[in-house]
Every structure is written in structure tokens, then in C-alpha cells.
Amino acid sequence: MAVTASPVVGFDPRALRARFPILGRQVHGHPLVYLDNAATTQKPDTVLAALASYYTTSNANVHRGVHTLAEEATALYERCRARVAGFVNAPDERGVVIVRNATEAINLVARSWGATLAHGDEVLLSEMEHHSNLVPWIMLARERGVTLRHVPITADGRLDMGAFALLLSPRTRIVSLTAMSNVLGTINPIAEIAAAAHRVGAVMVVDGAQSVPHMPVDFQALGADFLAFSAHKMYGPTGVGFLVAKPELLERMEPVAGGGEMIREVRLDSATWNDIPHKFEAGTPNIADAAAFPAALDLLDEVGMPAVRAHERDLVGYALERLRSLGWLQIHGPAEADARGGLVSFVDPEIHPHDLAQVLDTRGIAVRAGHHCAQPLMRRLDVAATARASFGIYNDRDDVDALVDGLAAARNYFGLANK
């Protein structure tokens, strides 16, 4: 069944692996088959080299120093902002706030833009959101009496756009949706939704944690007002994420944390804020990881985001086909590969996802089992948990084959018939 490389795209994932040192590792005596990319991706040697280079040549605190190291560190840190702005086609690098992760980015919007909402205003979310795009709004609702609405999903795991049209109203002040579900894989029609949101005067927040790493994302073409994503899910270091926003919206927002870097003038009892985006970055930032992240973007640019998407679309298509052919799995999410990103959630009705993941682990295969930080969606799907295989640029059809073999082996192990 082995096929050496995705036939449809112009790069060889297996060749790419050589650039990810961890992929040479053995797990329980088997070569690592890493299929947990939606949780976090592995890092190429160039990111590790950039990190080491930062610390061994230019490490200093940023923005305030005259000395050479401080100047270099500042330039490297700000280069990250510029690169990110370019990568998602932000209108202006002043609209790129460097945060810890997608979660912090969404919290920033919920707290700061959310503070302009009042009792009776509505925030429109969906049933397929990650906790990171639910809990900040639940907190806002508690604090400000805002009402939360949720777009339901259809039987095949898509947003119910008819229901969306009914739920959207002049009361809707914020629409916040994931561009790609981390459980169902569903790619949502964000541009269409953003246009509708704008027609009722709402701002559009896009949870891009899964989309930005896996498909071309153009902030301006989407019509997004805010876009949140994490570096660690796109081959970059942990501890860095981004809020990309229209600068004119950031200008109108209050900072949510105070301290060094984010101020202009401080008196004992009062303070004025620095310009955007700095007013949202209190304290010494994660300089090293920001300095290293552009190396990950370089790799993605080298492969090309359309090729990344084509590759992962091919892989998920192949995976759907092979998983279906097993005959005993429940597979969640849209049936067609075109409608989904490179991940697939499934349940063996007779083996708990935890046990399944455990058996796969002994074969060196890393998948995630659990609620994937989407408990409401689990309830909607009426499962306690699912297993999920999620792909990255270094995965290929061999990895899918290994997974499929592992799933069959698990049934053997637990004494169940392979139908």
C-alpha cells in the first residue's frame, strides 16, 4: 500500500523530514509517526538554529537600549512582526500584536473590544468552537450581560448557514468563528460570513489557529477584523502567537495589561499608552521565540501555502478513503476532502479513544485522544471523546497506512473481529 509521496504536489514530504530532527526519533522501538499536528507541530532545524543564533549573538531586551545587542534584538523582534504581516497580508504591521498564543489573542479581543458591548448585545459563535473561542466569551457574558448565540452544525459537520442567517441580527456585535475546525476539519466560509457580519455592523473575529498553518490565508481578502493564531502550530516555537487586526480598531481599544513597553508617559496616578501595537505588549516580550519564528515562515513560503494545502487535502482524502474502508469506524466531519483541512476524527465504537491512542503509541504513532478542547461539540456529536489524526507538511501516505494498520492491530489486541 506504500506510496512514496503525495502525487499531487510539487514537494516531497519525506525529503522535508530530514529538516525536522525529532522525526528521526524512535518511539517504543518504532520510527515516530507524528499525527498530532493540530495540537502542535514539530520544528525544523532552521527554527532551532535561529533560536540558538539569537541567544548566542544578539540576546538583549528590546525597544529601549542604545547598545548594539539591544538594537539587534529589537530589529529581530520587529522583523517577526513584519514577516507575519506579510504572511497573512495584514493591512499594516502596526496591526500585528505579538502575544503568547491564539488563546491570548482571542481573550484580548473579548476583553478589550468586548468592553464596548452592553447588556442585550449579542456575540455569535458556533457549536464547533474550541474552548479558546468559547470561554473568553462566556467570561464576557458573565461580566457584561452580553448574550451568546451559537450557529448549530449540520449532520455532516458543517456550519448550518441557514441558521446563521437567522441568528445574525442588528444585535450581533461580534461574530467569532473558527476558520477550520480542529475536530471536524471543516473549513468554514469565512469571507461570506464576514461580509454578512459587516452588513449588520458586527466585527468579524477569525480563529485561525488551524487555518493559518494549513492553507493560504489572506486577512484582507477574508474581510476579517481580527485574526488569531499560534506560532507553535505552524512549525514555530511555543510561546508566541499573534493577533492580527485592522489598525483602526486597535487604535480604539484599551490595553488589557499594564507595564513596561506599553506606556508613553507614566505618573504615579496616571498613564498614557504607547502607540499600537506596543500598547498591547506589556513587559518584556518573548523576544527569542519571536526572533526565531520567521524561519518557520520561510519554510512555509518555500513550500508554498497552496502546495501545503494541496498536499494535506490529498492526505486527508486518502485517509478518509482508507479509514472508511476499514468498515468499523465512525468518522466525523464532512465527507469530501475538499471541505476539510488535513485532519480526521474518528471513533472505534468498541475501543475507547484513549485505549486506541495507547495501542498506536506502542507502534510509534502519535494521535490525540480526548475532547480536543471542544466539549460542547463532543456533546453535540454524542461522544465522550474521539481519536484524531492530524497532518503536517512532513506526513505522507505511508503515515496514513501506518495508522490504518495500527487501528486494525488494536482490534486484534483487544480481541475484536476486524470486519
Binding site: H352, H354, Q358, H371, A384, A385, Y413, F414, G415
Partner: protein
């Protein structure tokens, strides 16, 4: 890199464990219920509901329901088999002895773990310790509620337990 002796699946899923998993005991409803508790593992979404019948301070019946993995199910099944006939204090002592074993300590002297000993291998799998503990943490909650004069507990202290 964390030191972690290489582990075989059979350490985790021993015969006895698989037997309990396949034919879990204690599923049948009780005639009367003196205390219940609902346990939840926030890590994986597993749920356990424990119902107890007591006569004085002696547990006369245990029902275990919910949806969990093989480890959680086996652990609950063993509990349902062991606990009836024991006093509340004895049940709590067993829970504590099992907790100790799961966290790498030796079983307290005199502790009778019975089939639970077959779960010893779980402690090599840090995340799975939560699974094994869930029914026991929930049992503790049910007994705590019962001592407090209430019949129901819904606290979900599993995460706290297992993170230690």
C-alpha cells in the same frame, strides 16, 4: 528527554484488567441508593457515576455507570466487586492505598488490593493514572457526601487528584 523505561502494552492491559473491562461488574441498579457521586475527567471527557447503598456504615451495594476507557472501566469494575461488605472507612483506606500505588509509593502495610494489583502497570503511564483513579475519587466523593448527610456529590476532583 524524560527517563521512561520502555513499556509493553501488556503491562497496562493485563489479563485481569481486560477481563474486568470486557465484563464490568456492578452495572446493575441498586435496590436503594444512599449516596451518589458524579466524576468527570476533564482531560478526556470520561464520566463515572457511582451509586452506593449503605447499612449503618457498611457498604452493601455499589453501582458503577458511565463511559470510560478500558482502564477506567476495569478499575470501576474491581471496585464494585471489592467494596460491598466493607465499611466506609475501609473503602476509603482502599482508595488511599490504591492512590499511593498509582503514584509510585508502596502499598501501605496490610492493604488488600486484590484485583487492583493488576492495575499496578498503569503507573508507568502518567496520563492513564487519572483513568484508573476516576472511580475511586468519585467513590470518595460519594462517601464524603454521605458522611455530610447529603446523598449526592457532583464535584469532579479527578484532575486535582491525578495532578499530584
Amino acid at each position: 528527554m524524560v527517563d521512561r523505561p520502555d513499556v509493553a502494552l501488556d503491562d497496562l492491559y493485563r489479563e485481569v484488567v481486560m477481563d474486568h473491562h470486557r465484563r464490568p461488574r456492578g452495572r446493575a441498579p441498586l435496590g436503594r441508593v444512599d449516596a451518589t457521586a458524579h466524576g468527570f475527567n476533564p482531560v478526556c471527557g470520561d464520566e463515572v457515576v457511582i451509586a452506593l447503598a449503605l447499612d449503618g456504615d457498611r457498604v452493601t451495594g455499589v453501582q458503577v455507570q458511565g463511559r470510560g476507557c478500558a482502564i477506567c472501566t476495569a478499575s470501576g469494575s474491581m471496585m464494585a466487586e471489592m467494596i460491598p461488605g466493607h465499611t466506609a472507612a475501609e473503602a476509603e483506606a482502599t482508595a488511599e492505598a490504591f492512590r499511593a500505588v498509582m503514584h509510585g509509593a508502596p502499598a501501605p502495610a496490610g492493604a488488600e488490593l486484590g484485583d487492583l494489583e493488576a492495575l499496578e502497570g498503569v503507573r508507568k503511564f502518567a496520563v492513564r493514572v487519572k483513568c484508573a483513579m476516576l472511580p475511586w475519587v468519585t467513590l470518595n466523593d460519594a462517601l464524603k457526601a454521605w458522611r455530610g448527610g447529603s446523598t449526592e456529590a457532583t464535584s469532579t476532583t479527578e484532575a486535582q487528584e491525578a495532578e499530584r
